[in-house]
Symmetry: D2
Subunit: 79 residues, 4 copies
């Protein structure tokens, strides 16, 4: 009677993001993943790579054991 999830502190795209609007990107990950919304978090292409930029997640969706997030870059890197 438990639901497995994964607590994430950054986004790792593995290059699989898609543009979803002029300034937003969408990424689908396997499993239910918990990310913080509306606060700056690091985005990396690979887990071992350098941070590419800071982004804010604007939307998170769980369905059929997949997590979909919509995020946008944060302009000021010192936020």
């Amino acid at each position: 009677m438990g639901m497995p999830l994964e607590l994430n502190t950054m986004i790792v795209t593995k290059g699989k993001e898609q543009k979803s609007s002029e300034k937003e990107f969408m990424l689908i990950k396997e499993g239910y993943r918990l990310y913080p919304l509306d606060i700056p978090i690091e985005l990396r292409v690979t887990k071992e790579g350098e941070p590419v930029c800071l982004v804010k997640i604007k939307k998170l969706q769980w369905e059929k054991e997949q997590t979909t997030i919509i995020y946008e870059p944060v302009n000021d890197l010192d936020v």
Copy 2:
């Protein structure tokens, strides 16, 4: 640098659910709320009321400080 959320173990509808398909209902709640998906949880109309039935949440969405869930009744109450 934190994201407030609320851990929920049951659904309290306050009568605000909407039918979203033949056997599914949709409910919007204020704030980011964490519910378990895909496992039976109780549904109540009010916090103090009796459980009405067991449901499974099939989809959860966080956006603009609101949580939207889609759920369906579980037929066998002894699941």
Copy 3:
């Protein structure tokens, strides 16, 4: 860069609880498990069994991929 955890809505003891004080019990579970504290949740002996009583978790601890909870029975079952 993620931490696996399991969202739980009830306690399943499998008979492994220990008395930790006059009115409190302690239970150790494998893995990091997220339970709500300070609100009434069901306690069962087995996952498929009937609820035994309502309890409130007073303390939760994560360490070395184990979860330890301290809980006490809720006297009024209609809480």
Copy 4:
């Protein structure tokens, strides 16, 4: 019937940490806060300040609406 918690992706000490063993520190925060264990996260003194180092949380405890964490510095900053 919900439990408020806060999802955190980094530690902000505000200078309130205490040494708890030769290489470990303890920090108490108000409220129930969810941090990832066993993976490197940033430690800052203030929310707006620069990251001081990477640490791993080895233990997390929730009790009486307080969160206590035990963490240790990560030696290799490129982990």
